[in-house]
């Protein structure tokens, strides 16, 4: 059983909603990238989504794009990200790590080489934003090496396609808003609840929802109907500009602790 599957089984057994923070690897500080990962776990993360910086993150909003730009300006690349995961694994062999990013860095690195190195480093899953199911034949070497391919589902996904996604989902299915920019304002919580309920009925894999979740209140609203909550933009924004390992860890904790508490109180 993979770390991701094991973690969701534990959550289910404990009737808890998972908390999945997203951070851009190397932001706010490459030196403290690993310390930040441990801090996220300390603050209650069940799975870590680690963003691989890319120069042209066309499906992300400006906050995450700027985090990517800052990391790239400090020279962060795929090799660093893999090294940090390996270092993280020296102290944490339980918390699943999903790399989230775009295809070009992996394509340039080489699919086979990436697959082997990622597994060796202790990466559990890969979410390639610009590689939909139709193009994911290129990710076959990753799946063969044992990396789970996390798929996205969206409010625009047609019913027949949703069935296909649910059938192919590994690890968990990530239900996203419209790039987290303004999409969240368009659907009411009850709309989202109905859609997620439909997906959960179809999908073997658990469903994580990222829908403009910014704080304890919005996380709690989603906890009622999702297996896990993904929090990205608001956390990246909170961490931006943090200086030193203590500041970074304190900010991560201050941000995530109330959300963790809200999820557990549900």
């Amino acid at each position: 059983m993979s770390r991701i599957d094991r973690r969701f089984a534990q959550l289910k057994a404990a009737s808890r909603t998972g908390l999945i923070p997203f951070v851009t690897a190397g932001d706010p500080s490459p030196q403290h990238a690993v310390a930040l990962m441990h801090a996220l776990v300390g603050a209650g993360a069940d799975v870590i989504e680690l963003g691989v910086p890319f120069s042209d993150p066309m499906a992300d909003g400006p906050v995450i794009q700027h985090a990517s730009e800052r990391a790239i300006a400090r020279g962060v690349g795929l090799n660093d990200v893999l090294r940090w995961v390996a270092e993280f694994r020296q102290r944490d062999d339980e918390t699943p790590v999903v790399l989230m990013g775009y295809l070009n860095p992996i394509e340039i690195h080489g699919y086979g080489r990436f697959a082997q190195q990622a597994v060796q480093a202790g990466v559990d899953g890969v979410l390639v934003v610009d590689c939909p199911l139709e193009e994911s034949a290129v990710l076959q070497p990753l799946r063969e090496a044992g990396l789970q391919q996390i798929l996205l589902a969206a409010p625009t996904t047609a019913p027949a396609r949703m069935v296909q996604l649910c059938g192919s989902a590994q690890g968990f299915l990530y239900y996203v808003s419209f790039a987290g920019i303004t999409g969240a304002a368009r659907l009411s919580t009850s709309d989202i609840a109905a859609r997620v309920a439909d997906i959960r009925a179809k999908s073997k894999a658990p469903v994580a929802v990222g829908f403009g979740v910014r704080d304890a209140q919005s996380a709690k609203a989603i906890a009622g109907f999702a297996d896990a909550v993904v929090i990205g933009t608001a956390l990246v924004e909170r961490l931006a500009g943090a200086v030193g390992v203590d500041d970074i860890a304190a900010r991560a904790k201050a941000f995530l602790a109330p959300i963790r508490a809200a999820l557990d109180a549900h």
């Binding site: 860095p105 394509e107 996205l152 790039a179």
Partner: protein, 402 residues
């Protein structure tokens, strides 16, 4: 080389051999499927095609002539240089061939709002123009650096009723404008049509934009035969994203005897690293929804490009060009900023034509080719746009106060 039927591409998945495809986030899959379905139907619809032809004739002013540049040819002292005068189209460039087509698609799909990205501003102006023509709302994303370089076109778009949104992320040029337009589309997909200006992006854009620009080559092939009784020996066009080039090339792809050469922006020289020659100096990768040649570093990060011409300043290229390069059907070479400017001046003085800086790259390449061929040979060059928009850039570069 085994025989390839180049008219058979892309396949149903939008692939040109290894290139093309639909590398986009899940949120865009539904709108792309909707667009693909609509466009594949419309491209066979006689009523739609007749409507398009009418607008190309009476609004754009097609056909554009093929002009034998006799004084330029004599000056060069080689083959005869023929210019396909896309600069004479309404709005002054080939870009309107595509925007008219896409606006008609948007209207048939019932989308009242159009968004566009633009580099040099030509596609933005062409989009704003057709939006006004068809009564559609138009928002144009443009890199802040390009806005500075192309003030006249920015003002032109505003006069035409479009909203121009400056993009300040990344390198503040075309690729960043493209990212921002994609985000807008993802957010407002229900009522919005994204009118991409080049033969890149996810399927069906490389197909659709090529179809709408292919009239350039279709006309030119007939015109050259009418005037000279045979096909040209070599054809050339500038390649940024590659829409004017594929427009000229596509009809000629199965004419094996016609040599095809694309001119990319070599900027300050390919060896300096300051260029935008994705095919000549890049490698296969994935950018903006398609697999193609891209300029990137070993971490897969897209690198910043340089060209004196904003319209060629792009780190990717249309996937059909990538396919033609690998298939050996077309050659892609670099033209430096200096060579393009020299060609600009030479064409102005010998023929009384101010070419766009983009098109000046093609003219420079046509001049090089003309020198290689005997005097009775025919070099057909796509003069894709007029140079009025670039007068300030050229003056500034040459230290002239206008």
């Amino acid at each position: 080389m085994s025989k390839i039927d180049f008219s058979a591409y892309p396949d149903e998945h939008g692939r040109f051999g290894n290139y093309g495809g639909s590398f986009v986030a899940e949120t865009l899959m539904a709108p792309l499927a909707e667009l693909t379905e609509a466009y594949l139907r419309l491209r066979q619809d006689p009523d739609f095609l007749a409507e398009l032809d009418r607008d190309l004739k009476y609004y754009v002013g097609r056909p554009s002539p093929v002009y034998y540049a006799e004084r330029l040819s004599q000056h060069v002292g080689g083959a005869r240089i023929l210019l396909k005068r896309e600069d004479l189209n309404h709005t002054g460039a080939h870009k309107i061939n595509n925007t008219i087509g896409q606006a008609l698609v948007a209207r048939r799909m019932g989308k009242p709002r159009m968004i566009a990205e633009t580099g040099a501003g030509q596609h933005g102006v062409a989009s704003a123009t057709v939006a006004a023509r068809f009564g559609l709302k138009c928002v144009v994303y443009m890199g802040a650096v390009d806005i500075e370089r192309q003030k006249i076109n920015v003002y032109r778009m505003k006069l035409l009723g479009a909203e121009v949104v400056p993009v300040t992320s990344g390198s503040k040029t075309l690729k960043d404008a493209l990212n921002e337009a994609m985000r807008d589309w993802v957010t407002n997909v229900a009522d919005t049509f994204y009118i991409i200006g080049t033969v890149a992006g996810p399927h069906p854009y490389p197909l659709m934009v090529r179809d709408f620009n292919a009239i350039v080559g279709r006309e030119a092939r007939v015109q050259v035969q009418e005037q000279f009784g045979r096909l040209p020996d070599v054809i050339t066009a500038c390649v940024g994203g590659g829409s004017n080039a594929i427009g000229l090339f596509h009809t000629f792809l199965n004419d094996e005897q016609v040599r095809i050469v694309g001119a990319e922006a070599a900027g300050e020289g390919i060896a300096t690293g300051h260029h935008a020659a994705s095919l000549a100096a890049g490698r296969p990768g994935v950018l903006h929804g398609n697999r193609t040649y891209v300029l990137c570093d070993d971490n897969g990060q897209i690198t910043e490009t340089h060209s004196v011409s904003a319209g060629l300043d792009y780190p990717g290229v249309g996937p059909e060009h990538a396919f033609l390069k690998d298939a050996g059907r077309a050659e892609y070479v670099g033209i430096t900023d200096d060579e393009a400017l020299e060609a600009f001046h030479l064409l102005a003085r010998t023929e009384g034509i101010l070419a766009a800086l983009e098109s000046s790259h093609a003219v420079a390449q046509a001049i090089k080719l003309a020198r290689e061929y005997p005097k009775d040979a025919l070099v057909l060059c796509n003069l894709s746009g007029r140079g009025d928009k670039d007068v300030h850039t050229i003056a500034a570069r040459e230290g002239v106060q206008v």
